[in-house]
Amino acid sequence: MNGMPDPLVYSPEVERRFEAPPRQGELFGAPTDRLAGSAGDTRLGARVSFEARVRSGRVVECRFRAYGCPHVIAAASWVAEHAEGRAVGEPDWPDAHELARRLEAPAHKLGSLLVVEDAYRAMVADTGGRPGQ
């Protein structure tokens, strides 16, 4: 056990987002301009969903829901917040490695942060249930 990183110690960024996560929740309104996507599995410890309202190819509003450790919650919150204003299809964004760096997450959390990345990409790829669009 000696020398192991302490599992319940988090960076200030994670602490803040865990305590009161910005962009937590869901969007209301017409489903036409809304993208949604999710990834993960609660049995494996992480499941994340994103919703975004998009106008002119840019994210206007983004919300997340997350089942997972504090890093997952904080990462989903960070992604939802920083998605706003971005082009929907921005390549290489978000990036789990970049999230890990920003949140000072230990290496073994990368798998969970990939769930956050995957969920956002699933949202971007969302056809809104309207095949062919």
Partner: protein, 402 residues
């Protein structure tokens, strides 16, 4: 997380991991440390200070023996229940290796037993790890089918450290006596909390620990039946202390502390048992009101102070962090350095999500009603909050459908 009239945080609800030393115990310990006290080596029979220290050691031996219905010459001092478990299992298995090489134990034992069994497997012993019965209780029905002609030793814990479930050691003891098998009981969590009687248990070897009963850490004992004398090969050689079963300078202050702690536990056992049971029931009814919570382990056969609960819809690490105003643990303290789902709860049939989101609340001598009420408020608030982050609203996924 701010309430009026809250207790000082974090509120300690991890008495199964360890207990604070009782002030009366600490006082006795302090008398054996410094120049003015009884600091001599209890092995120094050549002078009066040494003989006085030895007298204190022997008086403490009586106190520990008395709590479990044993004789003082049946108590061997060790450095804790981990060592006691190792001495019992390795000691008995190695000593009797020519009689048989099969051991039966359960999947819900403490790591001190399981890791020791793994080591014995590497030495050529065969070990059967039985699943517990319903409610996580291990009884004779689980053990009997596993016995073979080659079985020499059965090891089943009294009270499980994660769930608080009390196994049916009396029935297993009877079974072992009928079959002339050695029976070891890890009573680290049971002694001082529930009545323990080596004869009622039919036990030949019983592991005890000081620090689970308001005594010091780093001291324990192994009960070794005197008649018929149970034989164990020592783990630690050198000087032949403790009838040759455990060498090393006897730590007077530690031993005196464990003796006093066991004496106090015995004196207040019944009333404390009732008090803790009431507090635990209050806690459970407060928490279970949340919905989507599951009690782990049999609701009836259990130690009074331990409540292990799984929460639907919340992830374990986040839950533990959200509850940081409570000093609680997920899974066994001894293994909580790694955050894998508890092997004990999996053996009880819990799925991965529920095993991973379990919290052990363990109450003790200094737990008050105010502590319990604070705990209930904190748990309700935080579980609600995390469930809201995981799904929309408070009902899991209810808004989705709107």
């Amino acid at each position: 997380m701010q309430y009026m009239n809250n207790p000082a945080t974090p509120v300690y609800l991890d008495y199964a991991a360890t207990t604070p030393v009782d002030e009366r115990v600490a006082e006795r310990m302090a008398e054996c440390l410094c120049r003015a006290g009884c600091y001599a080596n209890p092995a120094s029979s050549s002078h009066e200070p040494g003989r006085r220290a030895r007298g204190l050691v022997e008086a403490a031996r009586q106190d520990v023996a008395a709590l479990i219905g044993a004789g003082p010459t049946e108590i061997v001092w060790t450095s804790g229940a981990t060592e006691s478990d190792n001495l019992a299992l390795k000691g008995a298995a190695r000593f009797h290796a020519d009689r048989g090489r099969h051991i039966v134990t359960s999947r819900t034992e403490h790591k001190a037993v399981l890791d020791t069994c793994r080591q014995l497997e590497r030495e050529g012993f065969r070990v059967t790890y039985v699943l517990p019965g319903s409610g996580g209780v291990v009884g004779a029905e689980q053990i009997e089918p596993a016995l073979t002609d080659d079985t020499v030793l059965v090891s089943v814990m009294h009270v499980n450290n994660e769930t608080g479930v009390a196994n049916d050691v009396e029935a297993i003891g009877q079974l072992c006596r009928d079959r002339a098998l050695l029976f070891h009981v890890d009573a680290a969590q049971g002694a001082g909390k529930l009545p323990v009687s080596v004869d009622a248990f039919g036990a030949d070897l019983v592991s005890l620990s000081g620090h689970k009963v308001y005594g010091p850490k780093g001291i324990g004992a192994l009960y070794v039946r005197g008649s018929p004398r149970t034989r164990v090969e020592p783990l630690i050689h050198g000087g032949g202390h403790e009838w040759g079963m455990r060498s090393g300078t006897l730590a007077t202050h530690q031993i005196v502390g464990m003796g006093e702690a066991f004496r106090l536990a015995g004196a207040h056992l019944a009333e404390e048992q009732a008090r803790l049971r009431r507090l635990r029931e209050r806690l459970w009814s407060g928490i279970s009101g949340l919905g989507g919570v599951h009690l782990n382990g049999c609701p009836v056969r259990r130690a009074p102070g331990i409540l292990n609960v799984s929460f639907e819809g919340v992830e374990g690490e986040s839950l533990l962090y959200a509850l940081r105003d409570l000093a609680v643990s997920s899974g066994s303290a001894c293994t909580s350095a790694s955050r894998e789902a508890s092997y004990v709860l999996r053996a009880l049939g819990r799925d991965d999500q529920l095993a991973q989101s379990s919290i052990r609340f363990s109450l003790g001598r200094y737990t008050t009603e105010a502590d319990v009420d604070f705990c209930i408020r904190t748990v309700r608030e935080q579980v609600d909050r995390l469930r809201a982050i995981a799904s929309s609203g408070t009902g899991a996924g209810s808004r989705e459908a709107m």
